[in-house]
Symmetry: C2
Subunit: 397 residues, 2 copies
């Protein structure tokens, strides 16, 4: 059994703050500060250029990628770190489209994180030639996967509502229809058990600065299923994805397996922070974190619904159908969130009306959940949000 | 006049090392360690998600970009930091191609850094439709710019030989022929005066971990000429390049000016290191650094040619025609460089036969140049490289 007091002690959490925004930026793992300092002074400072070999910097994207792989049900050697999530989305969908050349449609949903849609739109415009980004409502995705779809591009957990797609079922539908499946795990990796290999996903991507606590701008990751690893063509074919980067050949030859998805020089300081942040996973399992997350989110929903009738649950009520966050709607959501932050309860607001709270058992327990719900109730009461005259106003807003 | 003793004192340089590889990875600016530590503990640690606003993280890519702009002759507000150089090359050439739709040729040279060629090759394959990457020898570039060329993609300073293209002349030729000019400043920024605006460059890109000393994997930069800033379409259209990223609109609208070239979440730890590293430029000017660099490289060439006849100068002899590095050829270049590194003189080797030495006046002076040349001479003598029997062997290798 996980000792969540011990995992919490691994993080720096400011006094007087209840941090429910680890789904946006995870807090500082204490070990990360020391680890980055060591990388700077003992590696960069003292080893200079030789640290690429002596401090094994060059292997970090794959070595740390393997640590992430264990959390998302990916085979060893199938995940590599680098770039940002948007770049990794581009690589995944560009590669997938090329593997399905008779088709022209990227299928996504309107609940997807907008950057994924923007990136797909940019790719479609670059490709021209009848390529199309088709978006449907999240609940219509399954029916919309038909024999015109080249690739599905879906984010497993909706960034606003926490609604969770059924990865296995949608991947199977995609394959049955002759499409490839690309999954964005931004709100899944480190939050819920993901079983990429078992689900048969073709590509997956994600970021590390949310539930993996790597710090602001930490590197993204990309997964390529082993069956595609030696054939996928990386559209962003940078030198560190070359079979022999230091041969400085004029012609590109993709590297072995997942290595080909590397592009440029890896961000070593950010990777060092991530590497340190991953140590907490030696003390627990994603399954135990998930079980605890469900307890916490159920408790939060119960408390808020009991004391804040003006807030409407925006997340699925069934915990099996949502990720590790809970969202409520209110027309004055922005103002409410500002008031919460002023009281030390940090969640975030997502337009137009979503109050979003992330629950991260590594450092959040029932006491914080009760405290956050109590402060939220006080704010809602103080501001008279629950009174009939306010409700009348809110309805016409 | 610059006090180069004072600039040198800003860097951590290990005892017993003569570091002539700042053109590959700049050494640690002392201020960078403290600055990154502060960013980690006081910003990430204590402010958590609110640091995006309170610590002005979100504006860092443009603010630091402006500091870089001053070194490369770019107008304020035309440079933004992010991603890796390979990604920025992709953005620049993809945007440029789209601005010249009647043509299909990217012109580059065989001396270009291979990653630029790989990236262009990947883009051409993605575009299909008759697009072509055409490469010629560096000295043939000017003649090869004809009315079929859509965009020239050139690295100003050759990574192996230090040979410098005439940016203004080639840009004018490109424009005269109806092509756009994209310049890679990897070995220029912080090394030599660059005058992007004066030369009329359309796009420029570069990295910060070489002569700008931002540390391993520091962010790249991209410049877009003001005349294109509101029309260039970023092929990699990520959310932070959107006009209103936090509106979470489903449709992409490019941001104002250079902001549209941002893609994903910026790497704040690496940006903090770069920001600290830029402080040294408050103590000197790129013109004074260039004048000193020429003195140092001329001295090194004179000393090495006097004592190491087996080494052949691979860089242009005229300092006006080269960047801030000096390269020599020798068939056993790899072994010679290993011997140098073992003696504390750190340069690097580039296949097949190049010994490369970067001269960075911010922290390298005449004493280090004399010392490096003396140790090189000792190695060449000790290993008998200069003797006839070795030369005979080397010729058949």
């Amino acid at each position: 059994m996980t000792d969540f007091t011990a995992t919490k002690a691994m993080f720096h959490l400011p006094e007087g703050v209840i941090y429910l925004d680890g789904n946006s930026l995870g807090p500082l793992p204490r070990a990360a500060a020391a680890r980055v300092a060591r990388t700077i002074t003992q590696e960069w400072g003292d080893m200079l250029i030789t640290a690429w070999n002596r401090a094994h910097w060059m292997e970090m994207p794959a070595r740390v990628g393997d640590r992430v792989a264990r959390l998302i049900g990916a085979e060893p050697g199938t995940v590599v770190m680098g770039d940002t999530l948007s770049i990794k989305v581009y690589q995944a969908i560009a590669s997938a489209l090329e593997m399905n050349p008779a088709r022209r449609v990227i299928l996504s949903d309107t609940g997807n994180f907008p950057s994924d849609l923007y990136i797909a739109d940019g790719l479609v415009r670059t490709l021209g030639d009848g390529y199309e980004l088709r978006t449907v409502a999240p609940e219509e995705v399954e029916n919309a996967i038909d024999e015109t779809v080249a690739v599905t591009m879906l984010t497993e957990v909706d960034y606003r509502t926490g609604r969770k797609h059924d990865m296995k079922r949608l991947t199977e539908k995609a394959h049955a229809m002759g499409a490839l499946a690309v999954w964005d795990l931004a709100h899944s990796a480190g939050a819920i058990p993901v079983r990429l290999a078992e689900a048969g996903a073709d590509f997956a991507v994600g970021c590390s600065y949310k539930y993996l606590n790597s710090g602001p701008g930490g590197p993204a990751f990309i997964y390529v299923a082993p069956r595609h690893a030696e054939t996928a063509r990386p559209a962003l074919s940078g030198w560190l994805g070359h079979e022999a980067p230091f041969a400085f050949d004029l012609d590109y030859r993709p590297g072995r397996g997942i290595e080909r998805m590397r592009v440029g020089t890896p961000p070593i300081l950010q990777l060092a922070a991530l590497d340190a942040a991953m140590d907490v996973w030696d003390m627990t399992t994603i399954e135990e974190v998930r079980a605890r997350s469900i307890e916490l989110t159920q408790l939060f929903i119960a408390r808020v619904e009991a004391s804040c009738p003006a807030l409407t649950l925006a997340s699925p009520r069934d915990p099996e159908l949502r990720g590790s966050q809970v969202s409520f709607r209110h027309p004055e959501g922005y103002a409410i969130m500002q008031a919460l932050i002023a009281r030390g309860v940090i969640g975030d607001f997502r337009a137009p009306d979503i109050l979003r709270f992330g629950f991260t058992p590594l450092y959040i327990g029932p006491d914080e959940v009760e405290g956050a719900a109590r402060i939220l109730a006080e704010i809602m009461d103080k501001a008279l949000w629950d009174r009939p005259e306010f409700k009348a106003r809110a309805r016409v807003t």
